[in-house]
Amino acid sequence: MTALLELRGVHTHIGAYHILHGVDLVVPEGQVTMLLGRNGAGKTTTLRTIMGLWGASQGSIAFRGQAIANRPTPEIAASGIAYVPESMGIFSDLTVKENIVLAARSARHEGELDRARLQWIFGLFPALQKFWLYPAGKLSGGQKQMLAVARAICEPRALILIDEPSKGLAPSIIQNLIGALRELKQQKTTILLVEQNFLMARALGDTVAVMDDGRVVHSGAMAELAEDEGLQQRLLGLSLGAHQ
């Protein structure tokens, strides 16, 4: 198992607040790693620190063996990391097509998009084909989330960071999203997925890291956590049985 991304002792301060207190995290290549934890545990901060949107005040972040901590965000993105923020980051005034063209760095216009890949994305998210020329701001919450994921996969990326994609979505839409992410998983796409929805985490995760108070307090196989209700209760304050 090769580590594609490795965080060692990462600390992050935002203004006067010390948010991450030495995060150690390994994301294996070709797997889906779930990052779980209660609200305020530091999951979003971890993703933003990886992307360079907030600076790491201490510690190291290595991607494909290269140090990327505190590199400029565009450089980190260009090295092969795609980011889907919790807010989705959709450009509402741009059409679905323009959002995708923008995300495809190698394409200057629609004609230069990889057609096979685009058809694959339309297969995953048919709504995007249907609303191709419509302003993204007019899409429903679920469709926006699909667009956000589509932007991250419209060109091959070595690693995709996704922050709470199920947040605020109806259960049926979450099922669609799980299906799409499962398809990505079958393609051996490496994903670091922040999620509060444990059912989604169980459905997708190969490995898991649980955060609390700015640290990773547990890491291991997702199956192991999914089967151990006592561990779930202790780490997350929940049991899978309660979700079923």
Binding site: A77, G89, I90, F91, L102, G123, G179
Partner: protein, 342 residues
């Protein structure tokens, strides 16, 4: 790439097609204003004269304002020094047009060539000063609005003093070349020749900007950056380079507008930038900060209202721009075409 199974059935089945996105109401407001002015003015020929004069004035205002709205929208910078670039353009016009005076008076073509030469030099000059202005004055205060206001105003004062050093402190005449003096007549309606040139240039600038923003990747980046700078960076683009490019382009446009404005006023003073500054801020606020289309409609509204009120109620014309802004903001507090997600 394997072909994927369709997994989004529930999301797609009963979704409603979104309604057409384009908002025509500001355009209708513009047409309503023009239509309402006809009975108020009374005479068709006077109405036609005023309407064309207003549209041409609006298009000149659009040229000088368009750069500022992009700079604010993309960079979140309140550049109160934008007027400096207009002043540079106007003063460059006095030098270039002065130097080409005899040539320009030979005919319409020569006059147009002289004006375009002045525009080119003004754009280069204002663009270069804009580059230095961004680097020295604006860059240290990104994200700090109060400091931006203070330092960019200070920058404009320093710039005005430097203009006095180069061109002197006195007002300089910028006479209209002979071939562009006078008017065309449509019946009894007079259409000033220079305003036709201004209208053509203004429409060309708008078309070029609209094309760039909607049809090119740089335009996409600018529109996206206006909405969410951080996400543009997360997609792998260096927005700082885009900032500099937009600032320089905005300054160059202001320089070009300065040439048009100077010829329109037929005189130039070092304070010309400060005088126009208020007008352009009114226009970009009316349009919705960051919106090029809003700036275009806002500039036309300002130009028309100024001309109609100047004819109908000259005292009202003194505050017609402010009154228009208040009325628009009461209707749409974010301006005519607000930029979403900011």
């Amino acid at each position: 790439m394997s072909s994927a199974s369709t997994v989004a059935a529930a999301a797609d089945a009963p979704v409603a097609i979104p309604k057409s996105a384009f908002d025509w109401k500001p355009f209708l407001l513009l047409l309503a204003l023009v239509a309402a002015a006809l009975p108020a003015v009374g005479s068709t020929s006077s109405w036609l004269t005023l309407t064309f004069a207003g549209l041409a004035m609006g298009l000149i205002i659009f040229i000088v304002s368009s750069g500022l709205t992009l700079v604010f929208g993309l960079m979140d910078v309140l550049n109160f020094g934008h007027g400096l670039f207009i002043a540079i353009g106007a003063f460059v016009a006095t030098s270039v047009m002065g130097g080409m005076g005899a040539f320009a008076d030979q005919g319409v073509l020569q006059t147009l060539l002289a004006i375009f030469a002045a525009m080119l030099v003004a754009m280069l000059g204002a663009g270069a000063v804009g580059w230095a202005f961004e680097r020295v004055i604006v860059r240290p205060v990104y994200g700090q609005h109060l400091k931006q206001i203070l330092i960019t105003m200070g920058g404009m004062i320093v710039g005005e003093e430097l203009i006095k050093v180069i061109w002197g402190p006195l007002q300089i005449a910028l006479p209209m070349p002979e071939p562009l003096r006078g008017a065309f007549y449509l019946g009894d309606a007079a259409i000033e020749k220079y305003r036709v040139v201004a209208a053509v240039v203004g429409l060309a600038v708008f078309a070029l900007l609209a094309w760039t923003l909607s049809r090119t990747k740089v335009g996409l980046l600018i529109r996206a950056g206006v909405q969410d700078r951080e996400m543009v960076e997360a997609l792998g683009y260096r927005i700082r380079r885009l900032f500099v490019g937009v600032f320089v382009a905005g300054s160059a446009l202001a320089g070009m507008g300065g040439v048009m404005w100077g010829l329109y006023q037929q005189s130039v003073s070092p304070q010309i930038g400060a005088q126009v500054n208020i007008l352009i801020f009114i226009v970009i606020i009316i349009g919705g900060l960051g919106s090029t289309l809003g700036c275009f409609i806002g500039a036309l509204l300002v130009g028309l209202v100024a001309n109609y009120t100047g004819f109908l109620a000259p005292k009202v014309a003194l505050f017609s721009n402010i009154a228009l802004m208040v009325a628009i903001l009461l209707w749409r507090p974010q301006g005519l075409y607000p930029v979403t997600s900011r």
